[in-house]
């Protein structure tokens, strides 16, 4: 009998996660994984934060802890603390109960739930996303039923922000369109607007009633300061307007596999926020019923203890500083080697990723000849570099730039 699945084709490997698969299959001792954005120590090892271990120990030792279903919207204290973290403790939006916060599965889950909610309840179903953006963004929005348009963002000539293009494209968007904004540490480019540029973006968006949807995956991880990295979000919220925010604790708390994040919807009034929350529950219930408890309990434990919170900020700054130092080392080594081109974007860009400006052919060359694993758009994860491996990467880049077109 014929299989009912005969029409099901083999899907290609996810391009980002596929890089790690290829890396794992490579036997070369010189290989470097600059693919997926997970932090690595100087020794190239994954890191579980000390404060996370302590929080977990506390949870496991607590005899009163149970594994009952948590509410559809997640843990209440996690939600409150997450809103406070991104919006600031003194945020009027919080004080006025205008924020509906729903625990979701990390950044992806928060984006998807937010998008499904907008598809059902918002009058506009087009979302503008930057070009380029994280590879999974268009898929998340398409599957939620939104149509995706792009706004100019990265300027390959300057390896910086195409600000004029951005303003023009957002200026041309239909009134009320949704706009995806990377709160800080743009993925994959590492190029962020300055605060003056953010202000212009805010004014333009408010004048056209464009609805901001922030993706905040690196708060504290970009500059080392939680407040600094939340600045863009906070200025939008401070003007009294509405927005959506997807938060992830994957990087800044190293909780990648626990899938912890939150969707916050900042509304005009408490009444609207409470109705919005009730409708978001209807999106969640048929998707996975309620979110997983473990990661959220870790986060809540840390955020509610001033001692643990402080320890966290120190470890977080440690990670951010190591990345900044890798940027410096890579830049200086390329300078020292005399590799052709202007490499200053390496130290101007921020966050886990650098958009090197290398093209697909150069990347393929680096993978084949030097066992450097990275995404074909030229993005490298600085978190995957160490002082020991910088020289090998420099050799690879130098060779690629001088030998491949």
């Amino acid at each position: 009998m014929d299989s009912v699945f005969s029409k099901v084709d083999r899907a290609p490997e996810d391009p980002i996660l596929g890089v790690t698969v290829a890396y794992n299959n490579d036997p070369s001792p010189a290989k470097i994984n600059l693919g997926v954005g997970a932090y690595r120590t100087e020794e190239g090892k994954p890191l579980v934060l000390d404060v996370v271990r302590r929080a977990e120990q506390q949870l496991v030792n607590d005899p009163s802890r149970v594994k009952e279903y948590i509410p559809i919207v997640g843990l209440a204290d996690f939600n409150k603390l997450s809103a406070k973290l991104i919006l600031g403790g003194d945020s009027p939006a919080i004080q006025e109960s205008r924020v509906a916060t729903i625990q979701c599965l990390s950044g992806t889950g928060s984006l998807r739930v937010g998008a499904e909610f907008l598809k059902k309840h918002y009058h506009q179903s087009v979302i503008y996303i930057p070009k380029p953006t994280w590879g999974n963004h268009p898929k998340v929005f398409n599957l939620a039923g939104l149509s995706v348009e792009y706004y100019r963002y990265y300027d390959p000539a300057t390896r910086g922000l195409d600000f004029q293009g951005l303003l023009e494209d957002l200026g041309g968007a239909p009134s009320g369109a949704i706009v995806l904004l990377h709160a800080c540490a743009h993925n994959p480019t590492g190029v962020d607007p300055t605060s003056e540029q953010w202000e212009q973006i805010r004014q333009l968006m408010r004048s056209k009633s464009l609805l901001p949807f922030f993706d905040s995956a690196y708060q504290g991880f970009a500059s080392g300061s939680l407040d600094t990295d939340a600045h863009s979000v906070r200025t939008f919220v401070a003007d009294g307007g509405e927005c959506l925010i997807a938060q992830s604790y994957a990087k800044n708390m190293g909780l990648y596999g626990e899938r912890v994040g939150a969707l916050s919807i900042v509304c005009k009034s408490a009444d609207v926020a409470s109705k919005v929350e009730s409708q978001v529950k209807l999106v969640v219930r048929p998707m996975y019923s309620s979110p997983p408890i473990h990661g959220a309990s870790i986060v809540a434990t840390i955020l509610k203890s001033s001692e643990m919170y402080n320890d966290w900020t120190i470890e977080l700054k440690g990670m951010a500083d190591r990345i900044i130092s890798m940027r410096k080392q890579l830049f200086e080594a390329l300078q020292a080697k005399g590799t052709p081109g202007d490499w200053s974007h390496i130290i101007k860009q921020i966050g886990m990723f650098t958009f090197t400006g290398l093209n697909k052919e150069q990347v393929a060359f680096m993978t084949k000849e030097f066992h450097i694993y990275m995404t074909s758009d030229g993005r490298i994860s600085m978190a995957g570099l160490s002082s020991k491996t910088v020289p090998h990467l420099v050799d690879a880049i130098h060779a690629a730039v001088t030998r491949v077109g």
Partner: protein
């Protein structure tokens, strides 16, 4: 226009003053900002516009989860929560299995990292879960014909399958039992998969309408998906007999339908993992292609960890590979990859012979407690009810739930008069019942059954 905007030097724009005015003037209906006088110019541009979400209405509470919320709000000391299906001890406390605590301690001692799992989940978990379901030696396992991916408990696994059906079986319908778990239809609705019902519960016998079930499955368009509860049907507790399962398999094969099992209670229904998997294994033995969603919420008490799996049994290893790749493609834009904690717990428990044995013992204990409570409830009903009504359906049902046969008005009486919280379809969770409360519950049921209509004067809903 740009020149009239204030630049935001600091983030304080007298927001508190502004918002106090907003609150004074009210927020619903007419635009509160038309009357307001002085605001900072920046906030003005935003403040005059109403919420983009103004038209959104308050959604009703979830019919199942909302019961617990109502229970919490009730201050009466006699109150009893027989709503959501979460296991309770005789002391009516939540229960974390000892073997789960052991596994968590082990994981902490080992210092496992928290890296992203692959999109398809933890490999050790996927292997263990498929083997638990089909038996490690089953040909479908040995011949690698099962595509297994870790899902967010039962709901998440059902949703992945529903999305696959929508994509690759356009127009195909899913038949769900009447009644079934309330969230099933929401899952298929949101996944945009059409569904219809097959007869299942017979209120006259408080048993299975087997003829109706077979007739409706037969009548469905060829190639329909048939949603079946592997064991311990939710909400009725009424399962087909082994002979009836054979006939169900026959008619499904005859019509080239695709079975879709929801297995949320393996081990929890009878106390035996193998016995509770018999229906699924029957279908696997026949070489059929079908779906199975699994959950570890109840049998390992991992409710909040959201751990389950979707298994797709295919006719070849090649088909299984292709199907698995497409399931991944659905999961990635939903949540990227699944949570690691619950998966590790399951893998550790199943992977260690001693812990696996302990788990089986704890599961037998939980299933045993429920059977004991069933018996006591039955005995109490029989001794207290003088009407001669046949209450034996309680003993014939299996699993966490019992369908009492009470209608909405009667169920409302249970809550309003007796502070017994249950779902409006007449379902009670025996997992939330203690031996100590059986007599009180029997009184409530007898009163509601016989007298509810007299108290509340609402017409009977059939």
């Amino acid at each position: 226009m740009a020149s009239s905007m204030l630049s935001l030097g600091s983030t304080s724009l007298l927001p508190r003053e502004v918002n106090k005015d907003k609150l004074k003037l009210g927020t619903s209906g007419s635009n509160p900002f038309l009357k307001a006088k002085s605001f900072s110019r920046v906030t003005m541009t935003v403040a005059v516009k109403p919420s983009r979400f103004e038209g959104i209405t308050m959604a009703p509470p979830d019919p199942i989860l909302g019961v617990s919320e109502a229970f919490k709000a009730d201050t009466n000391e006699l109150k009893l929560n027989l709503g959501v299906g979460a296991y309770r001890t005789e002391e009516l406390q939540p229960y974390v299995l000892n073997v789960v605590k052991k596994a968590e301690n082990l994981m902490l001692e080992r210092g496992d990292n928290k890296e992203y799992l692959p999109i398809e989940g933890l490999a050790a978990f996927n292997k263990a879960t498929a083997e638990l379901l089909f038996g490690a030696g089953h040909p479908v396992i040995k011949e690698q014909k099962v595509a297994t991916i870790q899902g967010l408990s039962g709901t998440g696994s059902l949703r992945l399958a529903a999305a696959l059906i929508e994509r690759y079986f356009p127009g195909a319908k899913v038949l769900i039992s009447a009644p079934t778990w309330g969230n099933h239809k929401n899952i298929f609705n949101d996944a945009k998969v059409p569904w219809s019902e097959y007869r299942y519960y017979d209120p006259k016998t408080i048993g299975l309408d087997f003829e109706g079930m077979i007739a409706d499955i037969k009548e469905a368009p060829e190639g329909s998906f048939i949603l079946l509860h592997g064991c311990a049907h939710n909400p009725t507790g009424i399962d087909p007999t082994p002979e009836q399962w054979v006939k169900i398999a026959d008619v499904i094969q005859e019509k080239n339908h695709i079975p879709f099992f929801d297995v949320a209670y393996q081990g929890f229904a009878s106390g035996s993992l193998d016995e509770d998997a018999a229906s699924v294994r029957l279908f696997a033995d026949r070489g059929m292609e079908f779906f199975v969603a699994q959950s570890y919420s109840k049998n390992l008490g991992l409710y909040a960890e959201r751990i389950g799996a979707i298994n797709v049994v295919c006719s070849s290893a090649d088909a299984a590979t292709r199907v698995k790749s497409q399931l991944k493609r659905i999961a990635r834009p939903m949540y990227s990859n699944p949570p690691v904690h619950g998966a590790r717990i399951v893998a550790n428990v199943v992977g260690d012979a001693a812990m696996f044995g302990e788990w089986k013992a704890e599961m037998e204990m939980m299933a045993g407690r429920i059977k004991t409570v069933r018996q006591k409830l039955y005995d109490s009903l029989v001794s207290k009810d003088k009407s001669g009504k046949d209450w034996s359906f309680i003993l014939k049902q299996i699993g966490m739930f019992s369908f009492t046969g009470l209608n909405k008005a009667q169920s409302d009486n249970m809550t309003n008069k007796w502070h017994v919280y249950m779902t409006k379809d007449g379902r009670i969770s025996l997992a939330g019942l203690s031996l100590a409360k059986c007599e009180y519950l029997a009184d409530a049921i007898i009163d509601s059954y016989h007298n509810a209509l007299l108290y509340w004067e609402t017409p009977i809903e059939l």
